[in-house]
């Protein structure tokens, strides 16, 4: 019995980290109604700054675009080569710094980061729907992480402990003193925060603004200033957590970013309002994980499946089931628009042209482009799974790639080990993924918005840990090979021979196979959008209560969405496994899910066209290759730029790249034509009809239809400007 108490005590180290991060999450949510997924990343970034200042006396400058490069470029066109100054990567100030100076520099940096997050991003997004806020904080997380990778590569950095870590004997076990000191510091911080927010005018103003911003404004409270101060404090707190805890947790670009998940669980239980609840639940998760670890070892009847890593998910799910919609609203009216889910028509002629082009490319194109196309097509299917669940129904899911990974694993087991033939094996694998997707969907039925994002994130991690890492029935020791798919004796794997083409890899056979699957998914999703279920999905997205009042089975629609989306993710997963000929966990890690989400939003999360755009930008897609060929190899900057573009998109244009749609494209094309004509000295022509023509969305009925009614619905449908 004593040993279990010991282990509850031993959980103090990780518990403090989770609790302290949860404190910051509560702060930022109170400040601006945002669930800050980037909170752990702030801690990580600031700790790197501290480490760099302390060990090297060098201040890392975040990667900034150099305007001089443009000047250099222009000058080089006319043959002048100049080397103009660039931003320094590090500002060297002396050699080593004393710890307190480094900490000061780091904490100031943290404050600046917090302020910028507020001023540049979340202040602007105040009235936008939760999707925009989730996307922005994911984007900021990617930016911070990429900035660290660019500046520090992956040289593991060790942060020395600032606190004494002599062992203290408690309850028969030894606990280093630093954990207790950290615990004490955290309790002190929580007390201070509690007192400030309960007693001081600033604290009361913050709570007032958190409850109802408009009423607060009437009392002369500047919600903006309040939010700014809160953000600065929260960021500084995150920085301190990172610096003090790094000797325990280690410092690398990934781990602190992932600690956010248990912290989110704790903050969720606290309804993002109560400091003390967040702290105790955070400590509880730490203690619980520690307890589960010893229980797994000591008690034989508990399977060795890494239960402790699933604890955050359990906490989150229970909290949601019990409390339902947990995130408090702020009394402000949401005025922002969700990305338009433009209805589309399947235009057979256009599609045929595209298919012919793609077929040509996949058979006779240069091999790099073939592989890029294959990557794009598969990524587009994965993005489509997000279009269905997030674009159409408004359910934010960050677990898509984990589900895809399940399918990939199953494929390996079924096809290679059990010898199940194609096409049963991949379909079955996708169905298994669907099954897990529906399991994830059940607790998701009661929640929406950022709460759902949190839950799916935790679910994705749980899937990753339970099923992939442990002795669970999906992991194994043997190599996870996936045999080439073949049907009726014809092989169409990535290395299979093909009658035409240059004989290089990837095989056109595989490319055509993927193209076929994508076309099927494309048509299916468009049909879905056009169907009654699609309309119901959009209704649920717009307003669940109104949809229910109109007779829509909201739960059923959500389940259907998760089911269809998981199936698509599963298909994407099996294709990925075929692509590599093996299963590779890296493809399906939680960071990949976040990355896919980011790119899907960038491409346009509510349309199939957006999914295709997302596919071009995703890992080694056509967009990446084209960029590399035309400009330069982005390398480590790709993630950085992706994060920046993602935030910009959320701020300015939630439609994503798909904004360049239909009439926009035609107008741009017409604009270039006019420019060309003028440059070649030809007179202007009148604007042809095809530039401004509004294509009807649905096929005309057989009888003649008057022109006028076409205008209004078509305007809405085309969604050209839409305001």
């Amino acid at each position: 019995m004593e040993i279990y108490l010991q282990f509850i005590l031993l959980g103090i180290g990780s518990g403090v980290v989770f609790a302290a991060l949860a404190l910051g999450l509560v702060l930022t949510h109170r400040a601006s109604g945002v669930v800050n997924f980037a909170h752990g990343a702030i801690a990580m970034y600031v700790t790197y700054v501290y480490s760099s200042l302390k060990d090297d006396g060098a201040y890392p400058v975040p990667p900034l675009p150099n305007p001089f490069a443009i000047v250099e470029g222009i000058l080089s066109w006319v043959g002048i080569t100049v080397a103009l100054p660039d931003f320094p990567t590090f500002i060297q100030m002396g050699d080593e710094w004393p710890w307190w100076a480094a900490m000061l520099g780091a904490v100031i940096t943290a404050g600046v980061i917090g302020f910028l997050f507020h001023y540049l991003v979340f202040r602007v997004l105040r009235y936008q729907p939760p999707l925009a806020k989730v996307v922005s904080s994911v984007g900021l997380m990617l930016i911070l992480q990429a900035a660290v990778v660019i500046r520090f590569s992956n040289r593991a950095r060790n942060v020395e402990s600032l606190l004494p870590n002599d062992g203290v004997d408690v309850l028969g076990t030894t606990v280093p003193m630093d954990r207790f000191i950290l615990f004490g510091l955290m309790i002190a911080a929580t007390t201070v925060l509690y007192l400030v927010y309960q007693k001081t005018k600033f604290g009361i103003m913050t709570r007032a603004a958190a409850e109802n911003e408009q009423h607060a404004t009437l009392l002369g409270i500047s919600a903006d200033s309040i939010a700014a101060v809160n953000w600065i404090v929260a960021a500084m707190l995150a920085g301190l957590v990172g610096i003090l805890a790094a000797p325990i947790t280690g410092l690398n670009p990934l781990n602190m970013t992932l600690f956010i998940i248990p912290a989110l669980g704790a903050a969720l239980v606290a309804r993002f309002s109560s400091f003390w609840v967040a702290v105790w639940v955070g400590m509880g998760i730490g203690a619980g994980q520690s307890l589960l670890q010893i229980m797994e070892i000591r008690l034989d009847w508990i399977p060795d499946i890494n239960l402790s890593q699933g604890l955050p998910l359990v906490v989150i799910v229970v909290a949601m089931m019990v409390r339902g919609q947990v995130l408090p609203s702020r009394g402000a009216v949401e005025r922002g628009r969700l990305p338009l889910a433009l209805p589309t028509r399947i235009r057979p002629r256009v599609m045929t042209v595209w298919l012919i082009l793609m077929t040509w490319l996949l058979i006779w194109g240069p091999f790099e482009w073939r592989q890029a196309t294959i990557n794009t097509l598969i990524a587009a299917i994965l993005a489509m799974s997000l279009v269905v669940v997030t674009g159409y129904v408004g359910q934010i899911s960050l677990a898509q790639l984990s589900l895809a990974g399940i399918a990939a694993f199953m494929l390996s087991s079924l096809a290679t080990d059990a010898g199940v033939p194609f096409p049963i094996a991949p379909l079955l694998a996708a169905l298994v993924a669907t099954f897990f997707g529906l399991i994830v969907a059940i607790p998701a039925l009661r929640v929406r918005g950022a709460s759902l994002a949190i839950m799916t994130l935790a679910a994705g991690v749980a899937i990753e840990v339970f099923l992939f890492k442990s002795d669970g029935w999906l992991a194994g020791d043997s190599p996870r090979r996936v045999a080439d798919p073949s049907f009726l004796g014809i092989e169409f794997g990535p290395n299979s021979p093909f009658w035409f083409g240059d004989g290089k890899v990837p095989s056109p056979a595989f490319g055509l196979f993927v193209l076929l699957v994508l076309t099927g998914c494309f048509i299916a999703v468009i049909r879905l959008r056009q169907s009654m279920l699609g309309a119901q999905m959009l209704a649920v997205r717009a307003n669940e209560r109104a949809a229910a009042a109109a007779g829509v089975n909201v739960q059923g629609v959500k389940l259907a969405a998760f089911g269809i989306s998981s199936f698509l993710a599963g298909i994407g997963g099996t294709l990925t496994a075929y692509k590599f000929g093996t299963y590779s966990m890296e493809s399906f890690a939680i960071l990949a899910s976040l990355s896919l989400f980011a790119f899907s939003y960038l491409g346009g999360i509510a349309t199939v066209a957006g999914a295709i755009y997302a596919g071009t930008l995703y890992q080694q897609g056509i967009g990446t290759l084209a960029f590399e060929k035309l400009f330069f190899d982005l390398g480590r900057y790709e993630a950085y730029l992706a994060g920046i573009f993602l935030v910009i998109t959320a701020l300015v244009q939630p439609q994503g790249i798909d904004v360049f749609d239909r009439r926009e494209r035609r107008r741009i094309a017409w604009g270039f034509m006019v420019l060309w004509r003028r440059m070649t000295g030809n007179p202007d022509r009148t604007k042809p009809e095809w530039v401004t023509r509004i294509y009807p969305i649905y096929p005309k009925p057989q009888e003649a239809v008057a022109e006028a009614p076409e205008k209004v619905p078509a305007e809405v449908g085309e969604g050209g400007g839409g305001s």
Partner: protein
């Protein structure tokens, strides 16, 4: 002698680029109580919102304490100039206690005792959450907070809403008291005309977003039918039954003997 605390000049404002109130001319001086009357949907709340800077001003101007009303982002400045706006839903924070709500009075540096002196019924409720109080208690709290900040302009929106007449009749005279004792200007928005006019010096009547009637409270009390007609809306009068008063130019009904606005005799057979 009195200083003008509020001036609206040809003000139009609304939501989503659609004007809800049009061409309003209104002013409030120090020490006077002005009533803003009108039926539901007339635009009274929108008008107050525009003065407070939370509704976007589209045309015309709003001047408060000599300052032009700021952009939406800086709306919080209005309260800092000495405007106390008690909104329609009382603007209380239900998660905060009575005392905490009081502490939020803008510009408050001292203790909150003055509010308790004004409303002794609040004293035992000091630590109670505002969301758990009765309507009357909430209204007292909202008023108390508004007065704590020693405003130059006090705006109260539909104080009587949801209150029993007994309570309401007790609270109403307080606004007169405030104007007399502190020399603040008071803008009182109400649907219940009689009691409001009893405390006011002047009144304006809004209908469907337009200012249709203005005058001293005494005049309007005497000629209640004018207000009723205004509530009905001027445009409801058939054009046959309308003539222009030759003295002041306003449109009046032919059935009246005297002009509703300038109170001069109308010609018998219409001019």
């Amino acid at each position: 002698m009195s200083e003008r605390v509020l001036t609206l000049t040809a003000m139009s404002s609304g939501y989503d680029n659609t004007a809800v109130v049009r061409d309003i001319n209104l002013h409030v001086d120090r020490g006077e109580v002005v009533a803003l009357l009108g039926p539901n949907g007339a635009g009274k709340t929108t008008t107050l919102g525009t003065i407070s800077g939370i509704v976007k001003l589209m045309e015309g101007s709003v001047e408060v304490m000599g300052h032009a009303v700021p952009k939406l982002r800086k709306a919080h400045q209005v309260a800092q100039w000495g405007v106390a706006h008690v909104p329609e839903k009382r603007g209380l924070f239900f998660q905060l206690t009575v005392d905490e709500n009081l502490k939020l009075a803008p510009g408050l540096t001292g203790p909150t005792d003055k509010a308790y002196d004004l409303f002794p019924a609040l004293k035992p409720l000091k630590g109670q959450l505002a969301g758990t109080m009765s309507g009357g208690e909430q209204q007292m709290l909202a008023l108390g907070r508004g007065l704590l900040s020693d405003p130059s302009l006090l705006m109260v929106d539909e104080m009587s809403l949801g209150l029993a007449p007994v309570i309401y009749e007790k609270l109403m005279p307080m606004v007169r008291q405030v104007a007399d004792e502190t020399n603040a200007g008071v803008l009182l928005v109400e649907q219940h005309t009689d009691l409001a006019l009893a405390q006011s010096d002047r009144a304006y009547v809004l209908s469907h977003g337009d200012l249709v009637l203005e005058g001293s409270a005494a005049d309007l009390l005497r000629d209640r039918h004018l207000i009723d007609a205004a509530y009905m809306g001027v445009e409801e009068l058939d054009s046959d039954e309308e003539i222009d008063c030759p003295h002041c130019g306003k449109t009046v009904s032919t059935s009246a003997t005297h002009c509703a606005f300038c109170d001069l005799a109308l010609p018998e057979n219409g001019a």
